[in-house]
């Protein structure tokens, strides 16, 4: 088991979107993990995040996003 490797791969996908100006607009969690929707205003992307560490990681990004008052928080 190399769960860290799975995390790194998912983190890379998340970071790629964030670095390209995307932010998280929706999170749906279910038995399959988390489906995280990103938007940059024009385009939307969705990532299926399965590793526990990556689910923690996007939560951190969400917190940061809220602190930076980036949409979509009300």
């Amino acid at each position: 088991m190399h769960e860290h490797k799975e995390f790194l791969e998912e983190k890379e996908q998340i970071d790629r979107l964030i670095n390209n100006g995307f932010f998280i607009t929706d999170v749906t969690e279910n038995l399959e993990g988390a489906f995280v929707q990103f938007s940059n205003g024009a385009d939307t992307e969705q990532l299926h995040i399965q590793s526990a560490s990556a689910r923690k990681y996007f939560s951190f990004l969400l917190k940061k996003q809220k602190e930076d008052t980036i949409s979509p928080f009300t």
Binding site: M1, H2, E3, H4, K11, T25, D26, V27, E29, K56, Y57, S59, F60, L61, L62, K63, K66, P72, F73, T74
Partner: protein, 424 residues
Amino acid sequence: MADLTTSLAGITSPNPFWLASAPPTNSGYQVQRAFEAGWGGAVWKTMGDPILNVSSRFASTTFNGQRVAGFNNIELITDRSLEANLREIEETKRKFPDRAIIGSIMVEPQQEKWHEIVKKVEAAGVDGLELNFGCPHGMAERGMGSASGQVPELVEKQTSWVKEAAQTPVIVKLTPNITDITFTAQAAVQGGADAVSMINTINSLAGVDLDTWNTIPNVAGKGAHGGYCGPAVKPIALNMVSESARHPEISVPISGMGGVSSWKEAVEFMLMGASNVQVCTAAMHHGFRIVEDMIDGLNNYLDEKQIYSVNQLIGQSVPKFSDWGELDLNYRVVARINNDACINCNKCHIACEDTSHQCIDMHKDDQGNDILQVREEDCVGCNLCSIVCPVDGAIDMVEAPRQTGDEPMTWNERQSLLSLMPAK
């Protein structure tokens, strides 16, 4: 030398070690022997309508050579007359006026019966009363003990009846045989209890004889569930004390018991909110003089910590005890193996590989010796390897430095954030 004097709802004793209501406090002879040994207080074995007992009564669990890891009994409340008990209480109190004597009492859930026994027991000079709402066997089949203690309304009502008649502080002893002990603790407070004590014994069957197939213990080939106590129950008791201590509606002092076997458990219970502790199994296993070690150990600990009064311990760790949802999801510890101390038994590797997260690898060092190494990035900090390791110092759990994205965040904070998403 620290001051060990404690006060539970105004009942003072020269140290926090009380004998719990149980076989060790069955008679004046025993309690006086206990006080001579140094016990600070004793809760007299529960008085009520004298019962009939069976033989045999006790059993214990031996685990890997450790005798009395847990202790089980099917003995009921006192089988001696109230008059005899009260005469001996009076005599004992006269001989040991500085020690706390608490009268444990149990009657049927009727107001006049509670009033009657309260008045009689208090007249003997007890320092307080403990209502036995915890005994799980025998008496519970007759609607008393834990049968009363499992119903918050009955706890509240009977406590209030006792308070109508009592002149001394009333301690309500609670059963752990309930999903959430804070419900019955709150009921006791609402009924006017001056303190609560916990835990009474846990429903148990000690074992089955593999040759005869009889239960252990058995009475002429038949068994019944008993009450379990001793070192094995300490974590259960400590949790119940802690949950009660941090509950805002449980505003009375707590007398903690369940597996207190040395000064160390006493400190743990007091840090988690107990004002004193009660002991039974350790005294039954080692005799009354075990209290000498408890007093010495506690004194030395307090001196080392430069604490002048044992009361300064009470509740100090309660703010550190919370709900799981308030724990930091991003805090990480990882295992680190010290190969100089490691004896290569491979228990850690097997435990991790078979039952945890498969992050301890077997390698060869430069000299071709077997070494074990943790892949720290895959280690979840479960502690299992350090728990099963037979060598002290061979595995350390060390705090992993935080990286970007590892900032503190609790589950509750996370869920709150998610709930703020506009789509929700």
